[in-house]
């Protein structure tokens, strides 16, 4: 095929530019399987749980439940996606969420207004992101160790801020953010959708989004093509910090309480979600659509296993196995060399 093109070019003189890729890929089943493996995994899960407990699992109420349960993770995973598009990793999103939430709680309890408490917490989140970004982009530490270290420090900070205690008893006005509903749909679902859409648009339509992808694809070529790689990576981390803090604030509202480690478990989950989603792009990179499917898999899995009534320990065993299965599915079409 390439030869044909080239041969034609030879004879035809200046060639017409072909605007869309040729349709050669149309019926490449391996490719379809590969790109949609994780999606198929999700559908399979829904089918299995739906068959096992149709009357409970396949209800609107349960669907809304699942959406609500994954909203906060969706936000963190969305911003984690940005960092991973750039080719880095943020281990501190969980603890930043914890700190953001804890800080908001403490400020609210000491009489700050909701907007100012939330704003300060968001700024602190962005600040932690900026510190991570500076360490990675400018000091050139590996993202893993830099954000691992900042995870530790930020957890320490969250403990200091809360003094290790559970903080609760906020003004009622703060609770709708995490607990309210609008037209029967929980508010967090709207926020998570908005954040995901925003990140999608950033990655898809804006120059910074394209630069993130360029840096993730080949940082050296990007640099030599005139992209300020350092700044581009830095911004990705700031966004991660900001998003994590937002998620943490919503978590506190949802729980109506804050602890120093409330958000910590989100870190691993967010990374797992992005990895699950990475199988859904043709270049194997992080992508927001895939991430959301990844988040959904994790959400459906927990909810479904709960509803079917699987023992907690066995749930954990299965969760790991199912994650592997979902990712492995997408490898099926890929192994020929």
């Amino acid at each position: 095929m390439t030869m044909d093109q080239r041969a034609k070019t030879t004879s035809a003189g200046p060639a017409a530019i072909v605007a869309a890729p040729p349709r050669a890929h149309q019926l490449d089943i391996g490719r379809i399987l590969r790109l949609s493996g994780t999606g198929i995994g999700l559908i399979l899960l829904i089918a299995i749980f739906g068959t096992l407990r149709p009357s409970v699992f396949l209800t609107v109420g349960n669907f809304v439940n699942i959406l609500e349960q994954i909203s906060i993770l969706a936000i963190i995973a969305a911003v984690q996606t940005v960092v991973m598009v750039v080719g880095d990793l943020d281990m501190s999103v969980g603890s930043t969420a914890s700190l953001g939430g804890a800080l908001t709680a403490v400020l609210l309890m000491s009489g700050w207004s909701i907007p100012s408490a939330v704003l300060l917490a968001l700024c602190v989140g962005a600040g932690i992101g900026a510190m991570n970004g500076a360490l990675v982009a400018y000091v050139k530490l590996s993202a893993f160790i830099a954000t691992l270290a900042s995870m530790t420090s930020v957890t320490g900070l969250a403990f200091i801020v809360t003094n290790g205690a559970n903080i609760f008893g906020f003004t009622k006005d703060f609770l709708p953010l995490g607990q309210g509903r609008f037209l029967g749909v929980p508010i967090p679902v709207y926020i998570a959708s908005a954040v995901s859409l925003l990140i999608w648009a950033l990655l898809r339509f804006t120059t910074i989004g394209r630069r993130w992808r360029a840096v993730g694809g080949n940082a050296e070529v990007a640099r030599l093509s005139g992209i300020r790689v350092d700044r581009v990576r830095f911004i990705a981390f700031v966004i991660a910090g900001l998003g994590a803090s937002l998620a943490g604030i919503m978590l506190v509202s949802r729980l109506a309480s804050a602890t120093a480690q409330a958000g910590d478990s989100q870190m691993m989950l967010s990374i797992a979600a992005v990895f699950l989603g990475m199988t859904m792009s043709s270049h194997g990179g992080a992508n927001i659509g895939g991430t959301i499917v990844g988040v959904a898999i994790l959400g459906v899995l927990t909810n479904g296993l709960n509803i079917v009534g699987v023992n907690t320990y066995v749930q954990q065993l299965l969760t790991g196995a199912i994650i592997v299965a979902a990712v492995a599915l997408s490898r099926l079409g890929k192994n020929r060399r």
Partner: protein, 303 residues
């Protein structure tokens, strides 16, 4: 087995098959596990199916699980080892679905949305174990130096700790260090290292160690053994392991407070039975004290 465990398993009416979701903040610690297992067994005797779900103190997950349970319209939800005030969302979804919520060692204050909460009297545990330590240190606490192993994120342990601090303060005990255990899952290891470091840094600088629960108390005891120190350690829970240590006489763990899970679970099962039978419950919070175990009475508790 422990006294109380076998006691009072009499069916209390209101039987029939019931689907009950037991959602717990903790199952990883021995004491919690013992209580949960006891509850499930007693429920089974009533004909109830109790499904246990552990959350490792992830309150967000407790909320989610309560929502899932409410969506399934279970006959009741039991929350264990958590504070109802911290899970308003789950409580609300249960209330909205008309599912009653019971508490097993869940918080210390009466909460409207909870039908019945039978809880350990954590402040009593703290006070009692602190006083036991003072006795072990010679009876007069004045000027005695005590290291405390704490974990504030756990509401129950925090209450114990606060009560213990008050008791120490009242007795004039010098609380030389208050160490927060970072991660209860590796609590014993942390306690072991922290105590070893403290003892190294302050040779002969301690008269006793107060631990918020038995697992870390055992870690402290191990560190003291390595340091050839024979100062006393106290714990809370009355785990089989703690009891065995006290009984051995050679371990630094000298006292613990036994949580009376038999009575607690009995009362909860009875209350739930009454509720299912349509009876009105007198109050929605019951506190249950425990028993102090020392070398003198340990034989009553050991297998």
């Amino acid at each position: 087995s422990n006294p109380g465990q076998g006691a009072g398993a009499a069916p209390s009416g209101g039987g029939g098959t019931k689907n009950i979701a037991l959602i717990t903040g903790s199952y990883g610690t021995p004491a919690a596990k013992a209580a949960m297992d006891m509850l499930i067994k007693k429920g089974a005797a009533e004909g109830w199916t109790i499904k246990l779900q552990d959350t490792a103190f992830d309150y967000n997950k407790i909320n989610s699980l309560m929502q899932d349970a409410a969506a399934q319209k279970v006959d009741a939800i039991i929350v264990g080892y958590t504070t109802p005030e911290l899970i308003t969302l789950g409580m609300q979804s249960a209330t909205d679905a008309g599912v009653p919520v019971f508490g097993l060692d869940a918080g210390v204050q009466p909460v409207d949305q909870v039908t019945l909460n039978v809880t350990s009297d954590n402040p009593w545990f703290g006070k009692t174990s602190a006083q036991a330590l003072i006795t072990l240190m010679g009876g007069n606490g004045k000027g005695k130096r005590v290291l405390m192993l704490e974990h504030d994120p756990h509401p129950g342990v925090k209450l114990r700790t606060e009560a213990a601090r008050e008791a120490f303060q009242a007795a004039g005990v010098d609380m030389v260090n208050q160490v927060q255990i970072k991660d209860p899952t590796s609590g014993r290891q942390e306690a072991m290292n922290d105590v070893a470091d403290y003892v190294t840094a302050h040779p002969g600088g301690l008269d006793g160690i107060w631990a918020g629960w038995d697992d870390v108390a055992m870690g402290a005891a191990l560190a003291l053994k390595n340091a050839n120190s024979d100062i006393p350690v106290t714990g809370v829970d009355g785990t089989d392991e703690g009891i065995a240590a006290i009984k051995s006489g050679t371990n630094s763990l000298k006292a613990t407070v036994w949580q009376d899970w038999g009575t607690i679970t009995d009362k909860l099962v009875a209350g739930m039975g009454d509720y299912f039978a349509g009876k009105k419950l007198p109050a929605n919070l019951e506190k249950v004290e425990g028993k102090l175990i020392t070398a003198e009475n340990v034989s009553q508790f050991s297998k």
